[in-house]
């Protein structure tokens, strides 16, 4: 069997698995966020928090909950790293410097998981398992909560109430993320991912007499449990520097497909949850169709360019295997790289910087679409719904009538919120990239020169502001400039959009529904999905084309 055919079959198997999980998981999640019952463990947690889960919140209160919780999380994670040197269970690792600790705290709380540190030599068990992995759960749960609040905005009328943030946070974690992650972690261990709490220990080698001190040193760690939620929560921060390319994180071809499945399963299934909650499964299918179209298209393009391997070094080698593992091959690496950049994951099983010029460009464009196909846990759905609002607005302009979506009028106020939402990330990406290129020192961090050097910096801010976390990792990002600016980009790129999403949700929930007429755009039809795909590509294309032309397009066309 040719590697291309094997790759296509892998992709089809993945699609079938996702299809099988779609209905049960989507319906289950809809039930979780609509239920009025509380599990016993949840009641204990609410008691500890001191929150009443039945109190309905209007959007400002919901937003205050999100921001307060995230602020405390950043502070806690920062302090945990700053005192690592004095904590037991830290393998004797020293405390993290202030700029890097800020960057890492902002990174994990914002669901980005950008890493300017080397996991295996910097972070001990306490910070990894008790700090970073905890945010893998909670940042994902916050994302889903905000998405659900927006869906409630569409589903409810004449109220302005969006649910209770604490209840959504706790339920998402306890009822959705933990059970799936626990099962997934055991599956990963069965594949060979490690799961222990041993310290750094010596292990014998084949040629004892010649190696470093006659042995090799390995980290132990709770790797599988962190790996499972890292993918499931679209986080992406690796236990080891090599991330999911490391054999202890991603041991086999099967674990590779399984991890891609984990990345995509919640974001896709949330469209079903959305359809259920707004009372029309078909509306969910239309959003799903849009996501799938982009996902399939990007994967096909990536497979094509990576198998075609344009680039001087790859021509000599006879294949684009630099930065790729043999057990995954070109196909397994291409499928993973598209999944990770079309969601807010940023885990990598192969190194995007060593992809072909066009391949690197596809990973960047995936993030620049706003990570909505299917996007991060929660953030993908709300990002896509914002684009749907833009799309019905454009359709409304064409026929000269006030647009509606899901029975709600999309007026000036709603369009302003949506427009602010889609302007934030590009503004952060392009301004920070321009500043880094204009200043004399940031460029010293580049490993590659020319177009690819520029791409390293463009990629860094694209990844940060979109909360992805993957990198053109030749860039030495552990400098005060990059730690600080990427840290800011991650925080602003995560929480400013949430402000507009929740404000929009509030304004929608206050409205009374508009009856459907013959002139209403049928948003559950393929025509609308097509319009939505076009809108997404045009908005991102117009925004980023000049920057992409200077980086990956220039590199790809030259090879």
């Amino acid at each position: 069997m040719s590697p291309v055919l094997a790759g296509v079959l892998q992709f089809l198997a993945l699609a079938v698995a996702l299809g099988l999980a779609y209905r049960p998981l989507g319906d289950y999640m809809a039930g979780v966020y609509s239920s009025t019952k509380h599990l016993r463990v949840e009641k204990w947690i609410y008691k500890a928090i001191g929150a009443d889960p039945t109190t309905e919140m209007r959007w400002p209160a919901y937003l205050r909950g999100v921001l307060a919780f995230s602020f405390v999380s950043v502070l806690f994670l920062y302090l945990l790293q700053r005192v690592q040197g004095s904590l037991p269970g830290s393998l004797g690792f020293s405390s993290i410097d202030p700029d890097q600790a800020f960057n890492t705290a902002a990174s994990f709380v914002s669901n980005t998981n950008w890493q300017s540190y080397y996991g295996e030599q910097a972070m001990g068990h306490v910070v990894q398992t008790g700090g970073l992995a905890v945010q893998n759960f909670l940042s994902a749960s916050v994302g889903i909560a905000v998405a659900v609040a927006l869906v409630r905005g569409f589903a409810r009328s004449r109220t302005g109430e969006l649910g209770n943030f604490w209840a959504d946070l706790v339920r998402g974690t306890v009822r959705i993320l933990i059970p799936i992650a626990a099962i997934a972690a055991v599956v990963l261990v069965a594949c060979g991912a490690i799961q222990n709490f041993s310290g750094i220990h010596d292990v014998g080698q084949f040629l004892n007499e010649h190696s470093l001190g006659g042995s090799q040193q390995w980290n132990g760690g709770a790797v599988a449990s962190q790996e499972a939620i890292k993918e499931l929560g679209t986080n992406g921060g690796g236990y080891f520097n090599a991330n999911s390319a490391h054999p202890f994180e991603n041991p086999s071809g099967f674990s590779n497909l399984f991890e891609i499945f984990l990345i995509l399963v919640i974001p896709f299934a949330l469209t079903r949850t959305f359809g259920r909650m707004v009372g029309s499964i078909k509306q969910g299918y239309a959003i799903l169709a849009t996501m799938v179209t982009i996902w399939v298209g990007f994967t096909a393009l990536m497979m094509w360019t990576e198998f075609h391997h344009g680039g001087p070094a790859f021509d000599i080698a006879g294949g684009a295997m630099e930065g790729k593992e043999n057990r995954f091959g070109i196909a397994g690496s291409s499928i993973f790289s598209v999944a990770t950049t079309l969601t807010s994951t940023g885990a990598v099983n192969s190194f995007h910087s060593s992809f072909t010029g066009f391949g690197g460009g596809i990973t960047m464009l995936g993030m620049q679409l706003g990570e909505i196909a299917p996007g991060g846990t929660g953030s993908g759905l709300y990002g896509m719904l914002i684009m749907a609002i833009i799309a019905v607005f454009i359709a409304g302009l064409m026929v000269g009538r006030t647009p509606e979506y899901l029975g709600k009028k999309i007026g000036t106020r709603q369009i302003k919120f949506a427009a602010c939402y889609i302007l934030i990330t590009p503004a952060l990406v392009l301004c920070f990239t321009a500043a880094a290129m204009a200043l004399p020192t940031p460029g010293n961090s580049m490993t590659n020169s020319g177009a690819h050097g520029f791409s390293e910096i463009l990629y860094a801010y694209t990844s940060g502001a979109n909360n992805n976390g993957s990198a053109f990792a030749g860039l030495n990002a552990d400098t005060q400039w990059f730690n600080t600016t990427i840290g800011l980009a991650m925080l602003l790129g995560r929480f400013l959009p949430m402000v507009f999403v929740l404000a929009l949700a509030g304004s929608l929930a206050e409205q009374k529904p508009v009856p459907e007429t013959a002139g209403t755009l049928r948003t559950e039809k393929p025509l609308f999905s097509g319009l939505l795909v076009g809108t997404i590509l045009i908005v991102a294309g117009l925004t980023y084309f000049p920057a992409l032309a200077l980086g990956p397009l220039a590199e790809g066309l030259a090879s």
Binding site: T173, G192, N196, L207, W218, A224, P312, G357, E555
Partner: protein, 221 residues
Amino acid sequence: MNNSVSSAGRLLWAGLRALLVMTVVCGVIYPLVVTGIAQAAFGNKANGSEIKENGKVVGSSLIGQTYNLPLKKGEETPAPDLKWFQPRPSNGLGSNSVNTQYTLILSGATNRSGDNADLIKWVTDAKAAVVKDNSVNGYTVKPSDVPADAVTSSGSGLDPAISPQYAKIQIHRIAALNHLTVDQVDKLVADHTSGRLLGFMSEPTVNVLELNVALRELTQK
């Protein structure tokens, strides 16, 4: 004003309590339960899939190693010990830069782009070396026989496997240097080649450490 300060304070206090209780759930209970199950059900895998040879651990079947001669004076990097099957290059591996009480190997890739001068040189040199090292006793390796994985570094730098093609072009060299017949080594490689799971998952690979362990057993018979 006082009112809003105190309500912000109350909110942050609630946030902190939520974080602490969720840290216990997600950061203590969850990993401990998973570790318990993992250690009970998959002990060897959970601890790193170690391989033993005559009762002595010689590494992990998942982690690639180097098979080099001792570093000679004047050399920057040790020469490969050609008696053994050679793994992929690993130019992206790093060494410990903080917490230097350990001598950790940092997993990682080179992150060089396709048009990078370093990468072009590494690939060119590696290709020449693979052709030279493996052309023995009348068997000649053509540059077009050398697969891409033989001259490129993997993503982790710890790739435990090589492609069957790369194993194949090493067979004559291994046979010559270990005084074995080509058929013997050929069979060894065939026995250690894993195909795709269910015919389509993963790529066909040869695990270098397992192959070298079997080779050592064969030569010591």
